[in-house]
Each structure stands twice: as structure tokens, then as C-alpha cells.
Amino acid sequence: MLRNVVRRLAVIIPTLIGVVIVTFLLTRVLPGDPAAYFAGPTADAASIEQIRHNLGLDRPLPEQFISYVKALATGDLGNSLSTGQPVINEIRSRLPASAELTLFGLFFAIIIAVPLGILAAVYQDSPIDHFCRVVTTAGVSLPVFFTGLFFVYIFYYVLGWAPAPLGRLDVFFIAPPNITGFYLIDSLLAGDLETFQAALAQLVLPALTLGLFALAPIARITRASMLSVLSSEFIRTARASGLEPGKVIIGYAFRNAMLPVVTTLGMVFSFLLGANVLVEKVFAWPGIGSFAVEALIQSDYAPVQGFVLTMAILYVALNLAIDLVYGLIDPRVRMEG
């Protein structure tokens, strides 16, 4: 087990080094010029050159890379041009926003996709199966910003059911005291039910938009996994012994089928965390994705580098955790360790 962990870590380190190098190169190749930005709207070529020298941007690339890595080692991810704040502060304050949105979206996806997948597996090849496939595939076929905008139009503008897409909380509510950064949890911890309801209301539409995107992989793997378990020996025995179908399906098959689904969930979560940049833009969600997109458009190096690095570390950590948990749950995997 421990050997497994150590082996995984040995693989992670070169990956992270690769990520750091690629990010650095990519942001340096971006067409923007932070020196011109800092020099201000009336600067001429000479003062821009001066500022470029001050910022150290005229030094050779390897030298810049070394100073970047040195700064990284002290936890200094640089400053953002667009918000003027240190990147590490921005990431720290924005990450919970993205995580809360993604988790909620995943929750929506699970409560729709898992039952659909189970139904599709139990009634294989029936119209229900085809319906499940069509619905989930439709969900993943729409560009996520398109769904988001239409939802805002229909549910907020026309019907007035959803609250204004003003971000995490309506302006007249104050954010709950920061414990986890998740408004839902923090407001409950503070006993503030009004804020809880307000935060929840703001979450519904963006989470739904995001969740639609995750329906297909989850439904698909649930169905596949259930199918393979349902055709296994012990289920056949259970059925033959006369156990009622409901108990067979949910009690026995589902429990065993959940393992691959759990692994996929991890993958889907990290995929969503990176992909929710567009949802955040549409719903004015102050998350890490919208921050990175704005920075990228403006060739604001530091936030993009910080964002990518954070995501890479999260992704790697998450996959390691899932592998370990999986190993804990399923002894067969452990043996192959």
C-alpha cells in the first residue's frame, strides 16, 4: 500500500515539473505586454521599455524562469494586473466558490444520472434505455454557455423563478463568517437560515447548467457497471433464490456497481472544475475559473500560471486520493498493489 503511494508520488513530481515549465512557456508566448499595461495609457515606447526593465521582463527566458521558480518556492505566485492583488490571495478566496459550485453541480448530476443509469441497465434495450441515452447525450452536446444563457433568459428574465444572476449572494446579504469558504456550510454553521436559502437560490441555476454536462459520463458508467454486475453469478443466485427484484437491484447490484462510478466521479469532478470557466463567466460567479479566463484574455501572466498550477496539484492530489480510497474499499485492487 505504502509502496503504491510512494510509486505514485515518484510519477507525480516530473508531471508537476512539466506543468510548471509548460505554463511558464505558454504565458511568455502570449501576445500581451504587461509592461505596456503598467506604463499606462499615455506612455510612449521609451517609458514602456523602462517599465519592462523594472519588471525584469527583458532578461533572458531561462533567467526569468529561475526567478519564477524561486518565487514559487516561497509561495509567491505574483500579482494580478487586472485585480491588483497577490495571486495566492485571489486563489485562496476564489477556490471555495468554484468548488462549491462544482460539487453542487455534481450533486445534481448524480441524483439524475445514477437513477437513469440504473433504470437503463435494468431495462436494457427498452425504450427507457434509449431515452436515457438520448437525454444524457443531449446534455453533453450543448455548449455549456449556451445552456447557461438560455436558462437565465427563461428562468430569470421570463419566468422570474430564479434569482438575479448576481453571483454567489444577492447584494443585500452579507457573506457568512469564513470557516470553510462554502457559503452553504458556513451559513448553517452560523445558524443563519436566511443566508443559507439565499446562497442556495443563487446556486441552483449555475449548478444545473454544469450538472447537465456531467450527466452523460455518470449515467453511462452507471449503466455499464450495473450491466456487468447484473450479469454476474451472485446476482443470478440471488434472483434464483427468489429475492425481490428491488432488493436485488439496489441492495446488492447497485452497491457493487458503485465502485467504478466513484472513480469516474473523481475524474468528472476535476474535469468540471476546469471546465466551469464558462459557467462562471455567464453567472458572474467569483470563482477561480472566471478569474483565470479574464487574466488570460488580458495576457495577465501571474493568475494564469497560479490557476493552472493549483488545478494541476488538485487534480493530481484528487486522483491519488481516489486511488487510495478505491484500494481501501476494494481488496482486489489492493492485491495488485
Binding site: A39, L166, L200, V282
Partner: protein, 540 residues
């Protein structure tokens, strides 16, 4: 758990988390506070609360304007049409209660009761420190001060606690107006000095995130990229106390959502919506739309005269005749602009600014001119514009592209992301640009100084250098300083006529600054900086 139980529990959960669609119960306190709080939304928020900071964006100017005071301010006037605008010719007291002008200096007497937000009194030494800072930090603030001949710390003197003197180094009609713009604001020098470091002697890092001012509003909380929370300074003495107690400014990136919020009454004020939305909101009548032509501002096609074939005046004139002006007014601006084309003559008769050129869409004339220039078969070029202004520039570029194709000019469209645009402008490498410029000080010679003068400032995107033009611009400024109206008028008319004839910059239209507000908002005033002044607003 069997299937039945599973499904039952899901529906129970769904009901519990309020998906039934009932409106949320607002608390009584919340309902009360809505009436004295203004909710303002825009696409971007400030990246710095100090206009003298490095790389401060336009929203940052708004924070500076409302939270700091200046020595003097501008009064207001009512425009034809009923709107209220600042009055560039009316200077009113702010921190200075009176002043004396001699050819050598302007002496200001400061009011005795003004205090900074932390309670310390505002004295002349604070003014001196602030002015020294503005001319020393470099970048945009220093250039703006220089536009009014405010150049060196040696010009500023704190005579005593409440007397401040500005030495005049050369006669300049713009000196006094320049003292009322956002840049020469007064900082709490002791507070900032306490937070300065040896690397940062002017405390720019501190003022980036903190207001050290005496203005009508204070920043209670700033979440960069998301919102700014202002509260009123109840001890403000430089004018009548503002009606609003709180102002909340939220960043909403999507233009469609901004419109939806304003239309449904969930936001009070919205700037930067597309022209089409403003035109429709006006017609819809649910909200008030205040429309003011942007003073000293024009959208133009800018041709880099150092890049052939744009060095040939006939080519430029050909393009001026090929632009689909009316189509642009209709399909891009939806009428929300004043046309700057189709005038009687390029030899202008008045000093009105901006005023129309005599060019109008005439494809045959354009083709003829192009042939005369030797480009009967046309040529290829790139149209560049700032993606940040894409709502207007993109459809404009498409229409221009199509029209130019009719006279044989093939173009590719290059959208330059916002922050890169300034860098590209400084490089002066783009041959054909669609761009907007407006000058804070509403005088034509000011516009020409930045955009046409041979000093080749960054705003002279055409790299236009003509000694004849320089003579006219310098002459106009000198005439203004000497109050010689006759010479001034003559130089201005010649200046504009030369620009229209040479046409390195093809004027298209003067846009309106549109602001959408709920019907219960009063007191909107148009300012040259095009940002919102909270001091005059009220909500009934």
C-alpha cells in the same frame, strides 16, 4: 434501501431545498436598507482605488473621484433635452473656498473645516504632498498634470496651514481646468507616509487598497473583481451631503445579464450596455436612460500614415468616401450617436468640436480617388480594434470590411485583447484601426494636442507629423492662454480644416454616453470622465 425508498428520499430532499420556486422571504431590515442603497452594475470593477496608482483602470477612476476631494470642482449646467452635465466653464470651490489668480501664481485659501476620513484636518501640507506625488509618480497621472502645465514640485508651495500656492511656469488656459480633474486629489499625507516604504516612498501599494482621502464616500469593503461597498462620509463639508448612504458596485461580466437585471428592477444603475439595448430600453419606458454626447470624443478610423499606401492622402480620402456611414449609424449605434459625416464642407466655418466632415458614402468617388493614387486594383490590409470595445467595433469592422471590398481593398479583421491594445498602440505598428478617443478637457486644441501633434503621443495612432499642424495647435494654445479669441478661433478653424482635408483619422460619430437607471433615481450628472458621481444621486 429499496428503489421505492430511494426515490422517495430524493423528492423529499428536493422539496426541502426550496426548489418549489417560492420567493425568498426578505427580512425587514433588508427591505428598509434597499431604499438608501444604490446598486450599480458594470462589466469591470476597479483594479486600484488610487488614480495615481500604476496601471489603474477606468473603474478605478470612479473610486478615486468619489472618495477623494480636489481643490476645485466643476459646476453643472442643464443641456437642451433636459439632461444635466458638468460645466467646463464654471469652476466651483471644493477644498479651496476661494482663490486669487495673478500671472505668476494662483493662491488658494483652503476651507478650515475639511477633515480626512480618519478625523485629521486637511491642511496645505497635505495638498503640497499630494501634488508633488502627482507630478513625480510618472505614467498617466503625471502626463495629465503636464497637460495643464503642472510639471514640477517646485511649482507648489504650502504658504501656511490653509494657504496653497501654484506657481505658473507658462501661460496656459488649461491650468485651472486641469486642477479640477480626478488626478490632483488630496491625500492624507501623514497616513500614507506611515504606510510607505523605502521602495515605495509615495505609498502606492497602500493607496491601491485603501482610501486615504476626505471625499464624500468611504470604501467599506473592496473584493477585487467582485464588488465595492461604499458608505457615505457623514462629516463631508465640501458640498451638500449626498442623499445616498450606501453604494454597492457589482461586477457582472455578461452584458445580457446586466440588461436583464436593470429591466427587472434588480439593479439600480447600469453603464456599458450595447447601443441597441439602450435604444430599446428608451423605447420600452420601464427605465430611465440618460443620454449625453460624450464631450470631446469621437470614434474614428485611424490610418497609420507611415505605412504605405496610407501615406498617400488620396488613398485616405478614398477610404473616407468608402465608409458606409449611415449603415453604421443604424446597425451599429442604433441612432445612439451624433453623425460626424456629411457636413457642408471640409473647410469649416465654426470652432464647434467635434463637428462633421464633408465626407459621405460615395463608392464611385472612392474608386476614382484610389485609381488616381495608383491603386486601381486595390490592396490588402488588416483592420485592428480593441476587443474590449468589441460590442461596437466588431459589427463596425464587418461593415467597413464589406464596403472596402467594393473598391478593391481586401482586409482581414484582427481583434486585439484589451490589455494588449495599449501595447500595440504604443508600438505604432497597426496600419488600420477602429478606435475611440475622448479628452477630459473639452477643448479642441486639447484633442489635437494628444492626437495630431508631431510630439507623437501614444494617442497619435496615425503617427501623423505635420509642422503646419503643430504650428496651428501651438498657436491655438498660446492664443487661449493670452485670451486672444480672434487668433484662437482662426487657428482652430484652420486646424480642423487641415485635419479634415488630410484625413489621417476619419471621424465616424460622436457616441452618446448612456446610463440606464430605475425611474426612482434622480440627480444623474454627466461628467467628462464618463464615470458616475454618487454625490448628486438620490433614490426615492
Amino acid at each position: 434501501m429499496n428503489r421505492r425508498e430511494f426515490l422517495k428520499s430524493s423528492s423529499a430532499a428536493a422539496a426541502a431545498i426550496g426548489l418549489s420556486g417560492l420567493p425568498l422571504p426578505w427580512s425587514a431590515a433588508y427591505a428598509a436598507s434597499r431604499s438608501d442603497t444604490l446598486l450599480l452594475i458594470s462589466e469591470n470593477g476597479p483594479n486600484n482605488l488610487d488614480i495615481q496608482g500604476v496601471g489603474t483602470n477606468r473603474p478605478g477612476y470612479e473610486a478615486s473621484w468619489n472618495c477623494y476631494d480636489r481643490l476645485i470642482g466643476y459646476g453643472t449646467k442643464t443641456l437642451e433635452g433636459g439632461g444635466v452635465s458638468y460645466d467646463k466653464d464654471k469652476i466651483i470651490p471644493e477644498l479651496a473656498e476661494s482663490w486669487e489668480v495673478t500671472p505668476e501664481a494662483i493662491t488658494f485659501t483652503l476651507r478650515k473645516d475639511a477633515k480626512f476620513h480618519d478625523g485629521t484636518p486637511v491642511t496645505a501640507k497635505d495638498v503640497k504632498w499630494s501634488f508633488d506625488r502627482s507630478v513625480t509618480v510618472g505614467g498617466f497621472p503625471t502626463t495629465q498634470m503636464a497637460a495643464g502645465s503642472l510639471l514640477k514640485p517646485e511649482q507648489f508651495e504650502a504658504v501656511d496651514d490653509y494657504t496653497f500656492k501654484v506657481m505658473i511656469v507658462r501661460p496656459d488656459a488649461l491650468t485651472i481646468p486641469d486642477l479640477a480633474v480626478i488626478v490632483p486629489c488630496v491625500f492624507n499625507s501623514e497616513l500614507v507616509k506611515k504606510n510607505a516604504t523605502t521602495d515605495d516612498p509615495w505609498g502606492l501599494e497602500y493607496t491601491k487598497n485603501n482610501i486615504a482621502g476626505s471625499g464624500a464616500f468611504k470604501v467599506e469593503k473592496w473584493t477585487p473583481g467582485t464588488e465595492v461597498l461604499y458608505v457615505r462620509n457623514d462629516d463631508w463639508k465640501c458640498g451638500p451631503l449626498p442623499a445616498l448612504q450606501r453604494v454597492i458596485w457589482r461586477t457582472i461580466p455578461s452584458a445580457g445579464n446586466r440588461r436583464a437585471l436593470v429591466e427587472r428592477g434588480d439593479a439600480d444603475v447600469s453603464f456599458d450596455l450595447p447601443a441597441k439595448d439602450f435604444a430599446e430600453l428608451k423605447k420600452g419606458g420601464k427605465v430611465t436612460v440618460a443620454s449625453t454626447p460624450i464631450s470631446n470624443g469621437m470614434w474614428c478610423i485611424e490610418l497609420n500614415v507611415t505605412k504605405p499606401p496610407f501615406d498617400n492622402v488620396k488613398v485616405r480620402q478614398a477610404i473616407a468616401y468608402a465608409v458606409p456611414y449611415q449603415q453604421i449609424m443604424d446597425a451599429v449605434m442604433f441612432g445612439e450617436a451624433k453623425p460626424l459625416f456629411g457636413g457642408p464642407s471640409n473647410m469649416v466655418e465654426t470652432t464647434a468640436w467635434p463637428q462633421p466632415t464633408a465626407y459621405a458614402t460615395d463608392i464611385d468617388k472612392a474608386k476614382a480617388l484610389l485609381a488616381e493614387a495608383g491603386y486601381a486594383d486595390g490592396f490588402e490590409t488588416t483592420i485592428s480594434f480593441d476587443l474590449g470595445q468589441g460590442i461596437t467595433s466588431e459589427p463596425l469592422a464587418i461593415l467597413v470590411q464589406e464596403s472596402l471590398a467594393k473598391i478593391g481593398i481586401k482586409t482581414t479583421i484582427d481583434k486585439v485583447p484589451g490589455a494588449n491594445w495599449r501595447g500595440e498602440m504604443a508600438k505604432k505598428s497597426m496600419p488600420f484601426m477602429i478606435n475611440f478617443f475622448s479628452g477630459w478637457l473639452d477643448y479642441p486644441e486639447y484633442f489635437f494636442f494628444w492626437c495630431y501633434h508631431g510630439q507623437n503621443a501614444v494617442f497619435n495612432t496615425m503617427s501623423y507629423q505635420n509642422p503646419e499642424m503643430d504650428k496651428l495647435i501651438d498657436g491655438a494654445r498660446a492664443a487661449a492662454a493670452a485670451k486672444d479669441t480672434a487668433a484662437y478661433d482662426e487657428d482652430i478653424k484652420k486646424m480642423i480644416s487641415l485635419a479634415w482635408d488630410e484625413v489621417p483619422r476619419i471621424p465616424l460619430f460622436q457616441p452618446y454616453l448612456n446610463v440606464a437607471m430605475q425611474k426612482n433615481i434622480d440627480g444623474y450628472v454627466y461628467w467628462f470622465h464618463r464615470q458616475l458621481d454618487y454625490r448628486s444621486l438620490s433614490k426615492s
